[in-house]
Assembly symmetry: D2
Homo-oligomer: 343 residues x 4
């Protein structure tokens, strides 16, 4: 069977590099083009020699008009605010767009403006964009032309809570999320605050009350639960390269479910989601999922305090970005969800 030609737009960052790595092993995609302003004209094999991309693949820097001819499916690994401009000509030319930026994630234009300090994309495209959460939105992904891949924090929080939200167990105004992310989540930016000497042997909270993933987390928890969820979200920067952990505390909406009920709900959820693993006897650890597309989750009932606790771990570059983008592609193309992805 011939492979589908794929292009990675903006392939110089960590998510772009991870896309190159994963696509080189993918059975139904052929890496036909990589673009980068920074690397334009250089061979991919010189920039990422350890990934052994095709010897003749060269970074290009095409105009928007030249983009559609490059491939059939486009993975946009661009900063927010840029993706929307690249997506428009591709969509109009009938191409499939899988966007890893935030541009098409937030349905509420006002909230997008508030948190991202920019105008959202055209309403038409915003409404057609499918939120690329394979575990909670699989049917919408089949045959989708425009996918808004979830952020890393939203992915980890959504998968930690989804089974409980689906059963209405969580009081919508009670969700407290403490999240921890490795430094690759901040991107390959020449920024003093991301230096090894600044991050090592330390942890710090950041973006308290203002992090851009707040509207996305609330939108998606609300979608899955059917109620307007408000989250108290506190992210922290960890001295690890890859990986993310979310620790969530919530009050029950009614009677506290038993641990057995919770275990059963999560086991059922996981039984049809190959990338989600429920930790019944152990607690999730970041290192167990690094370099995989898996999300390990746990849920615990604290009868002493009457609260529910949820934990999840992912690799922020794989399940939190590039791996999930390929998982979305598998669903778009009607193929096996796990194809070409590290379990």
């Amino acid at each position: 069977m011939p492979k589908t030609k794929a292009a990675i737009i903006g392939a110089s960052g960590y998510t772009g590099e991870e896309l190159v790595r994963l696509m080189s092993r993918h059975p139904s995609l052929e890496l036909a083009a990589v673009t980068s302003r920074q690397h334009a004209g250089k061979r991919a094999a010189d920039i990422y020699p350890y990934l052994r991309p095709p010897q003749d693949l060269v970074f290009s820097n095409p105009s928007l008009a030249e983009l559609p001819a490059l491939a059939e499916v486009f993975f946009l690994a661009l900063p927010h605010g840029e993706s929307m401009h690249h997506a428009a000509p591709l969509l109009e030319a009938g191409r499939t767009v899988i966007d890893l930026s935030a541009d098409f994630r937030i349905k509420d234009r006002e909230r997008y403006r508030q948190y991202y300090k920019e105008e959202a994309p055209a309403e038409e495209w915003l409404q057609r964009a499918v939120y690329g959460s394979p575990e909670t939105n699989a049917s919408a992904l089949q045959g989708a032309k425009l996918v808004a891949c979830p952020g890393c924090y939203p992915t980890s929080v959504l998968l930690a809570l989804a089974p409980a939200l689906m059963r209405g167990w969580v009081r919508p105004d009670s969700v407290v999320v403490n999240a921890l992310s490795g430094t690759s989540g901040a991107g390959r930016k020449a920024d003093v605050s991301l230096l090894f000497s600044e991050c090592n042997e330390s942890v710090k909270p950041y973006g308290v009350g203002t992090h851009r993933h707040v509207p996305e987390i609330e939108q998606e928890l609300s979608r899955v639960s059917g109620a307007a969820v408000i989250v108290q979200f506190t992210p922290h920067l960890l001295p690890i390269t890859r990986g993310m952990l979310s620790s969530v505390v919530a009050a029950p909406s009614g009677a506290l479910p038993s641990q057995q009920e919770v275990d059963a709900a999560y086991a059922e959820f996981c039984s049809t989601r190959p990338f989600v693993r429920y930790c019944a006897g152990e607690l999730p650890e970041i290192r167990r999922v690094v370099q995989t597309n898996r999300c390990d989750v746990a849920a615990r009932v604290d009868t002493r305090t009457g609260r529910l606790l949820f934990f999840s771990v992912i690799d922020n570059l794989t399940k939190g970005a590039s791996g999930q983008a390929l998982q979305c592609w598998n669903l778009i193309a009607g193929r096996d969800e796990t194809e070409g992805l590290p379990l």
Copy 2:
């Protein structure tokens, strides 16, 4: 002025080693004896050559009856359950005991039994023990004969919340603590789960709902606030050697105070506590306090969610253990609180 002779009982672990380090620079204490079953008979200068202890100091393993003759003040760096047996003969001989274990911390015998699976010490000593929190219990420490040094997590949570609790701003049943600790907090134990290869590039929650610091945190937050505080406490193991961060979320008991009121309350609290620094414009980072006896705290009002957020960082071996023990000694002896301690 002659120095007071001090003994470190159980000097082979991380807190014992840190006591050796700090005492070597302390202007009013002379390290007169170190004990260790493991190292008995060896010179301290051979075990800790980089600390340059007195050349003729040798680890001993004295009987309980021999203990009181060793020194005037005793720092017990023993596992819980052992300290109480060493403290009794020392107290009866009129010696001063600064205990770094949990034995004398919990006033409620039933809770001690429940969390520590042992009987608490004799009621008489339990009632005489002073909780060694210099920032919230300074007057009780003056001239104290038996001090129960706080645990590391309780220290970090108490200092994060104390100014808010003192003003009655925190709803007692709403406190959610996510805490992160470096691996030295688990001690120098030959345990596979503490190996570099097991802890590195990872984070994991542990002791969820059962951690032994829960009764101590609740006891002390309740003492300072005058109300029965219940905490949701989730500790995590971090891939760093030293350092601890607590991220706390709480609902207000009444009207949400303003950020200005909160800033003022914390600034006032810190103005008379030389080891507590309020971060008004920044957020606390673990690396800023490592190798110091300081606690950096921040408090933030989230008007969107109507909640209060608190952060604190300490070095778990210094302010969380050995440094605080020496700070207690300074107060017992009526000397300057900061004497001999790294700021």
Copy 3:
């Protein structure tokens, strides 16, 4: 095509775990049995849930007599001194044995005794054992029944030097090796010196002049060069989990070759070794090979000092142990060398 049944003997350590991981993806091997004294009776899916081994696979602790019935090919991940006793009954029963310990590596019985403080295996088996270096000993591996897989340090040093040794460029008594290893190389041992708090933020030399890999390195460099090589070998423990770097300095045996000659020799060597990559323009970095079976090498001519410099990096658990063991299997079985291995 039916898969070959494989057993992992001693599957509780890091190399055993890595074998489980790699074998689960291997196209021609079926993981039929795992043994471990420590885990006997437990399901592999409970010990390594994140690896998702076959649900019904249970750790066993068979007698030596029961071993041969377990599988057709046996990977021994046992401490040195134990492997030889397990290998004997397997070899007599006609099974294929791929031994990851040092037992069959050293042909000189006296040197084995000197460095390992034990008797070497029976001379007959010692002579039949094939040193499992796919890049320098491929033809001997075809159809081999007993393979002595190389140690991690010997693998990294041998691949760094092989092309230069083959051309006789290196003066045999001039080789100085400084090597750096991640902590997983020391195994999953409950040893205080391997705790996170002891290894982190530090590096230390160890085994200076006495490391057990010295006779193996000298034997193999001598084999490849045809001259009696003596190495000055200094290993160091690094604060990383996986990965190894060797920095080698040597004097030329005759005229100093040019950088162009060296580049050409290494490029030629790599052209037929899919797991060795020559870094012409860059220098090797450990992170580029972690989780792969690759060895990245570089060679540089220092005309100022008149010396040759060599560098190599591997993942000590993959190319340095379990991945290389599977690469040996591929060659034994006459299959593609790269089958089932991460490039």
Copy 4:
């Protein structure tokens, strides 16, 4: 006794920050001025709040003409090429200059030009500059007006070898140095290659054959040995923040000395150098010297290979830069060498 007024010129980097930290505890120096283009006009207490500098100290950006009025002694923490221009007016005004850059280190103008791609300072000042190695050049430091503080690698190599060089034990053309440095040695630069995600879980060699510390190392080893030493120097970047290890191999110039002779030579050397500690029974570890001004060294005789091995560890920011600068000041001022420095 009144303190001497000191200024730190270029106080925004890691060595400048470390100078602020150390000077705040120094008994004979008063931090009177800090300069920084980047921070000009900001309060030091806002930039380094955790260091608690004087509340009213403000970063300035003075002209060269304004410099001399700021203080009596000047610590220049500037990039090479800039220091010489700042030093000139200060020296002409009779001020004392302690320069942490490379500008005044290299006596051979041609070698400076070759490695630094710039012209060396005026010959007059170059000849007056005293190389600030307190352990090998103490007498020259007394009353010095211009000190060229050693680089971090040269310090670690010189102290590892000095006792052996002084006895003529080392063959001058045989010195092979493998050195490892934490990332703070590269400075606080917004450079992608220094990001946490790029340095973590990795080690890489760099500057092979071209590192700027080569001429300095060779000059100083030659000075101490009285013979023209050539070094093979290979530095590597380590995933730690602070700390440096040098592993040195050398051939003996004549008969191999015995381990006892070597131990005695090093013990004698250390007996009058309070910051150098000889490791007789152990091997040096980086973590033992971090945050101290100490250098731990070891020397070993390998009778099998007939070579000498040397090891040393320092904190690159303390003994490798700012701590040593203050040690130089103590000697200039005729005070106790250890005053105000962490042992």
